[in-house]
Symmetry: none
Subunit: 85 residues, 4 copies
DNA sequence: CTGCCATTTTACCGGC
DNA sequence: GCCGGTAAAATGGCAG
């Protein structure tokens, strides 16, 4: 007596609801992205270097172990290629 | 003759404030991403195909964009023809 | 149980070789960019409007892409309809 | 007796020639890009970390002064934000 | 010098 | 769990 096999056209409204909820959330996400860009612009106006800020943000996201690993690799590659410290 | 404008040692708190505001917003963005994934999971549980849903979302996004594109192309051609003859 | 697979201290020459091949190709790319700019300059000297030329180039690139796009959209819709009914 | 005011439809062939030369060069540029991506893939297959390779390439492009400046700024920001060395 | 556009780069997500 | 491709973001370059 399986009545629920695969949702099809019958509950189109349900699918539409899912889609719309997702679209709403994506819209909010987009706005947050805009807010973030605004803050970077503001920081730039205050004399900070946006690129470096992004690097730092990346570092703060990493665990200490990841950070160590990343720095280790970069240093090794630099050594192998003869880039001065 | 100060050419050095980049903010550095001064305003430790200001930089930190910018960074923290950004991190807060990124956190919210991340949460929205999680919410969206949840809805997909829910829809999947209701028998919908996630891949198809993503296609629908993409199409809904693209279709208006495409219309704008087509209009843009027409405009460009008109401009070019206006110049050439 | 070596879990460390990332190449590091070994093969200094190998890494350097990869890097140098890439740098060589990037160099060539850059030169092509310069050649292109030169042609624009030449065309400008011959009385053509660079901006318009760029539009023409863009249109010539986009028009086929757009056709592909339209076909793609049709396919997607067909697929979706095929599933829904 | 200015005969050369603005090139127009009359020398359409000339414009076409410029356009085609440019398109040819752009095509070559694109191929070089593909070649580069291929090398990265090869390096990856050999166990190298592509992301780090890109960092190193960037470093190699910088002058020592730029490099020092970038590292100085990054370190300062890290200090200000309390990121451990 | 600023804004725009193209390219590159990063992050995400489903599939294997 | 990793890899691949795909979409968004960011960076760099150019014309104005």
């Amino acid at each position: 007596m399986t009545e629920e096999v695969k949702s099809v056209a019958s509950d189109a409204g349900k699918l539409a609801a899912f889609i719309e909820r997702i679209e709403r959330l994506e819209e909010e996400k987009k706005e947050l992205g805009a807010d973030i860009r605004e803050i970077f612009a503001e920081a730039k106006g205050a004399g900070y270097d946006v690129k470096v800020m992004r690097q730092v943000l990346r570092l703060r996201k990493m665990t200490p172990a990841d950070r160590a690993e990343a720095e280790y690799l970069r240093d090794e590659y630099k050594k192998l290629l003869g880039i001065a410290e």
